[in-house]
Amino acid sequence: MGFDNLFLGFSIAVTPFNLFVAVVGILLGTIIGVLPGLGGANGVAILLPLTFTMPPTSAIILLTSIYWGALFGGAITSILFNIPGEPWSVATTFDGYPLARQGQGGQALTAAFTSSFVGAFVSIVLITFFAPPLAEIALKFGPPEFFAIQLLTFSSFVGLGGGDPLKSLVSILLGFVLAAVGLDTMTGQLRMTFGVTELMKGFDFIVAVIGLFGIGEILLSVEEGLRFHGARTGMKLAVVLDTWRILPRYWRTFVRGAFIGFWMGFKPGGATPASFMSYAFAKRFSKRADRFGKGELEGVVAPETAAHAAGVAAMLPMITLGIPGSPTAAVMLGGLIIWGLQPGPMLFKEKPDFVWGLIASMYTGNIIGVLMVLALVPFFAAILKIPFAILTPLIVVVCAIGSYAVHNSMIDVWYMLIFGVMGYVFKKLDYPLAPLVLALVLGDLAENALRQSLIMSQGSLTIFFVRPISGIIMAVAVFFFALPALTPWWRGRRGAPRPVESAASRH
């Protein structure tokens, strides 16, 4: 590699138009992150149709900027309103909201944004260095390796997701089943359409994302009686500068959080456990551990650093392997296909301007992002003062527009409503939604990889275990699948009590 590529990237990302796109994206993204019922994944999904006529690099910059904005926006609601917009913001509320209640909201927000920025930045630097060699290795992958990686993706939801392993498994399988509806690309046969023409096209995951996360989330929040008890922002330049003077004290927490985040983040579903893990480590090593949970600044720094590092790291498998690490990355992957790009390792060879433009825009986007949110906090906080009888129908209309625009089809709007009800029921019953969406995205890819592998081996499953790379990945995947069964047994042997699962299982 070399820095030529990165310079090429910056020459693309720092054009006036692309900087403008980044600013718009972050503004929209932060609003999306602040609003209940809209988050990174469905925000990106709803705005995806607007990018159809844009050049691909500007389009991906818009979508990634929305993502960064949504990540920043999650911190605002967590700290000021005690509402974690995303599951990985839950840990931020532990100390962020008490700080805001004590009138230290400005300090907490500054710490959160700065930590997010640092976490994201470390992850981007790591991506810059790791992505090219990883793509190089991935070029040698055959169908068995790709299938093994996909299995690993899903095994980590079951083994590390923190929720109910059986329900995670059902979510994954349901996603795959829904993905299989429609035309079988390998044999040309129609599957599970039962003579209904509308089912021939299958289910689009973008519509599923909008329904499950958008409508489902709105239904959940009106049920809880959407009421916000906001603390004052207390955001002043002096507060920002004072906080920046304090923050270097927590450099260990920053470093630890960033690496936990990156390490957990490039595996799917990693952001939430990463934020909790980082919080737990910070508490254990802190001299003021007893202050945690009552309004300790380090308790904001730790989860925010890790969550953003993980959020950025989720982009690594997307650009190198064509396998998304999070629902938001999955929507972006869908965008890549719509813009006529083939996601996967070949992108580095065929479209270096796109890949490096994207990587460079991660730097610029996060720099612009942290400055914008610091400056505009009062504006974003004011959004939550809009009465919910206005906000709710507005979000429903926006979701309907987004669903229709994907294929210009009314049936998708109906699917959105159905997925919305499904999202509401599933979330209440602790069926995780993220693995369902990823399975819906990866369904065809995974099935083709499996069938091609079996054709290569004349129908023998041993092909996955005898090839070295796929063998190792398969072994890890099998281990993760077995983890929920192994953990109680292992704990029992050590005589340790089972820890209480915290809010980590929310998603």
């Binding site: 006529t53 209309v397 054709i455």
Partner: protein, 153 residues
């Protein structure tokens, strides 16, 4: 909670059963060009049905007193869902913009009891803004009805 858990698990088992039946029709074995169409769905659906069955049995054994949803919780949910479904029905005939205007106006008045000027401003302003952004700037067409045709779009 238990009843909802049970019903959901049974519904998932039903879906699994339907998929298994269709997979068997397509063939789940080895065809001329490798695994047949039904091969992948069959094993997915089988695993899903078995797992859902375990969840159902577990739900039966573990009683909870917490209800899935109370009447006071359900009312606002239906209040969002029913008008939203009505809007989608209207979208088919009247197009998105008119349907959205009616839906916004109705919800703001019915649930929020907002004043008529506010309602008029938002329920007309939002569709017009959407029209400008989607149809004019980004050239993404939305479903249109008689009003748009009358206006010449």
């Amino acid at each position: 909670m238990r009843a909802a858990d049970l019903v959901t698990a049974l519904a998932l088992m039903l879906v699994g059963g339907v998929v298994i039946a269709d997979a068997l029709r397509l063939g789940i074995g080895w065809g001329l060009e490798g695994p047949q169409s039904g091969f992948f769905p069959f094993w997915l659906a089988l695993t899903m049905t078995v797992t859902a069955a375990v969840i159902a049995v577990r739900a039966l054994r573990r009683p909870t007193s917490r209800p899935f949803v109370t009447a006071t919780q359900l009312r606002p949910v239906v209040a969002v869902l029913a008008p939203a479904a009505a809007m989608v029905v209207l979208m088919e005939g009247l197009g998105l913009y008119v349907a959205a205007a009616l839906y916004l106006g109705f919800y703001m008045r019915w649930v929020g009891r907002h004043s008529w000027p506010t309602i008029a401003l938002l329920s007309l302003g939002v569709p017009i803004l959407t029209f400008v952004i989607f149809e004019q700037w980004f050239l993404v067409p939305m479903p249109k009805g008689p009003l748009e045709a009358w206006l010449g779009f």
